[in-house]
């Protein structure tokens, strides 16, 4: 039955070559922890991706309750945390995931760095990777404000004051992020929300696609 459905679809849109392109690639012996235990260092990239998926899914569920305005943001998070069934777990996954992803990212970067895996021909993928790191830090910075509690508010205020001290464009930069040259308030929260759930994830998906396509094109670096 499933085979029939597959054949019916394949007949019309020829999915087999696409699927084989995705599924067929080799896992060389030196990156396979089943053969060499020390190859677990090659898992950090995959684990980063795994946590990114957790972040996306838990974040999607969070937006079902979260309200991005200064009157209700904190209340909606408090409600989610105390009243909603499993709300605490979903928020917990997103909260701890944000830290775990930074740790995994760091381990992955160090693996690539100390193995010299960024050398020719993988320079571009390394730069894509560093940009991914910046995007993840940006997600952390903007997400920190969203619960609108004291630690969120005052940390963001400090962050924006630092941005303001950048020469020449400081004030414009702060206004761009905060929505106002001096107030950290309603505008700031909606801007950070938009950046956190639309702008940065869009950048993240684009960079991830580039990262993975490049890995597939070049193959994983050989043994040292």
């Amino acid at each position: 039955m499933l085979q029939k459905i597959y054949d019916w679809i394949d007949d019309r849109i020829d999915v087999t070559p696409i699927w084989r392109d995705i599924a067929d690639h080799e896992v060389p012996e030196h990156v396979n922890p089943a053969h060499h235990f020390s190859a677990f260092v090659y898992c950090f990239g995959g684990l980063t991706f795994f946590v990114v998926v957790i972040q996306i899914l838990s974040g999607m569920f969070l937006t079902m309750y979260y309200v991005p305005d200064i009157e209700n943001a904190w209340k909606s998070v408090y409600y989610l945390q105390t009243e909603v069934a499993h709300g605490q777990i979903v928020r917990g996954m997103h909260h701890w995931g944000a830290s775990v992803v930074i740790v995994m990212l760091l381990l992955h970067t160090l693996r690539v760095f100390f193995q010299g895996a960024y050398k020719k021909p993988r320079e571009l993928n390394w730069m894509v990777g560093v940009l991914l790191f910046f995007v993840m830090l940006g997600l952390g910075f903007t997400g920190y404000l969203l619960p609108w509690d004291n630690k969120a508010y005052f940390a963001t205020q400090v962050g924006l004051e630092i941005a303001e001290q950048v020469p020449f464009i400081g004030t414009q930069l702060k206004t761009l992020l905060a929505g106002d040259p001096s107030i950290v308030g309603a505008q700031t929260l909606t801007r950070f929300f938009a950046i956190h759930v639309f702008f940065l994830p869009a950048a993240l998906f684009g960079l991830l696609a580039a990262h993975f396509i490049l890995i597939r094109r070049q193959g994983i670096s050989g043994p040292l």
Binding site: D7, D11, R12, D14, T16, W19, I22, A23, D24, H25, E26, V27, E29, N32, P33, H35, G46, L47, F50, V51, W74, K75, Y78, Q88, I89, R91, G92, M93, H95, W96, A98, S99, V100, L110, F113, G116, Y118, K119, K120, E123, W126, M127, F134, L137, G140, F141, W148, D149, N150, K151, A152, F154, A155, I162, Q165, V166, P167, V184, G185, L224
Partner: protein
């Protein structure tokens, strides 16, 4: 791809009518013990993934994510602190060479050099050798950067009393009760209790009096004899006034239900 004469298509589309076999490649000719990602490797890898997930969920269950009081921009006493992975940048700004007149050092030059070098690492470390001992400069720079980041993070985190912070900033549910200041018991509350239990019974030095579970008699006893760290004789007045006070607290609790 197949080209040329004699190709058959599905209808008027460009889909080839010829079926391609949907089978994995054969990796037996590849060096070493190479195996297919799908399905061989993934069948093992999802197990490792599950272990990771279980560990992650245990962390989540054991430590509910923190939430402090709702943001209060007028709270001048609050000491701001970023999330842990920004602490090193925050700590850097406390050094004299990176703050005040040299703030540009702290916010642009040093982080810019470090992250710029990270971004351009493949072009700064161009030799063909990949092993760490073949590129001592790059490895030394990375170790230096790592140690600095760990040291700065440690310096910053070690000076924070995390328990005290969490205790002082516990979330308070928003009160939706309206305090009836006309109530005869309110004036008595204002005199005897408000300084510790707050204008809306939300609690300040003492705990909140909304959502408590005491009988009127127990409340009267607490008001005169104290309880826990609350000293006795907070209320000193006539029995009639005590009745009014208790009735006031009960009425707020009734309304909050």
């Amino acid at each position: 791809m197949h080209k040329g004469k004699g190709m058959k298509f599905v209808g008027d589309s460009r889909i080839s009518a010829e079926r391609k076999p949907n089978t994995s490649k054969d990796y037996s000719e590849y060096p070493g013990r190479t195996e297919a990602f799908w399905p061989n490797f993934l069948l093992k890898e999802w197990l490792a993934g599950s272990v990771f997930l279980v560990g992650f969920l245990s962390l989540t269950l054991a430590h509910p994510s923190p939430l402090e009081k709702m943001a209060d921009p007028t709270d001048a006493a609050y000491i701001p602190l970023p999330d842990w992975y920004f602490l090193f940048l925050y700590e850097l700004l406390k050094y004299e060479f990176a703050s005040g007149t040299y703030i540009i050092m702290g916010i642009l030059v040093l982080p810019g050099l470090a992250f710029g070098a990270l971004l351009l690492a493949p072009f700064l470390d161009k030799g063909p050798g990949r092993r760490p001992h073949q590129r001592p400069v790059a490895v030394a720079m990375m170790l230096l950067a790592l140690t600095s980041v760990i040291w700065l993070t440690y310096e910053s985190a070690a000076n924070v009393n995390w328990e005290q912070r969490a205790e002082a900033n516990k979330p308070v549910p928003a009160s939706n009760v309206e305090i009836d200041t006309e109530h005869p018991g309110y004036a008595i509350y204002e005199n005897s209790c408000l300084s510790c239990h707050g204008g809306e019974l939300e609690g300040t030095a003492g705990p909140s009096l909304v959502g408590i579970d005491y009988t009127p008699e127990e409340l009267a006893t607490i008001a005169t004899d104290g309880i826990g760290s609350m000293p006795p004789d907070q209320f000193t007045g006539s029995d009639e006034e005590l009745d009014q006070l208790v009735e006031f607290i009960i009425s707020v609790n009734e309304e909050a239900k």
